[in-house]
Subunit: 97 residues, 2 copies
């Protein structure tokens, strides 16, 4: 049986392939569609309509409009860190550790 963490990593890997299609990278459009479909709350809560563009720019080190899988996985880690920070603040406000 696959471990929970194995399944988690596999989910992110296959998601990058699904939205990249035959390419070995994600474009800004691919990333926007992925964020809207798979992380809808991130897009909904965004006051800044350019949030996805900024994320893409951060991840597009070579400035060629292409985000490779490595950058994408690090981006998901960045989103996870942001969610965790939000979660910590939320729990403190509720008076929980």
């Amino acid at each position: 049986m696959q471990s929970q963490m194995g399944h988690t990593m596999e989910t992110v890997i296959f998601m990058s392939y699904k939205f990249a299609g035959d390419k070995s990278y994600l474009t800004k459009v691919d990333l926007r569609v992925l964020m809207e479909k798979r992380v809808p709350r991130f897009s909904e809560k965004q006051e800044d309509p350019l949030a996805v563009d900024k994320i893409t720019k951060d991840q597009d080190q070579s400035r060629d409009g292409k985000v490779d899988s490595q950058s994408f996985f690090l981006q998901i880690a960045g989103l996870t860190i942001a969610c965790n920070d939000y979660f910590v603040v939320y729990m403190k406000q509720k008076g929980k550790k």
Copy 2:
């Protein structure tokens, strides 16, 4: 309904809390138990018994024996990158793109 990516990020966040216990960080022992329980194949396939120690050392920037959640999430991204690299080689050997 929670998105697939939301569930994936939540899984990693709650896993770090589960293995950190009341602490806000993971120790080397916590990390070893987590890897053995949640990423068993990683530990099984390891020729290098010090693999987890090396990963912990990498993530323990301040050298205080503590791995905070941010470092842990980046470590999972690192493992995902390694799994993806392994997957790409495996698929090429099988003659698939």
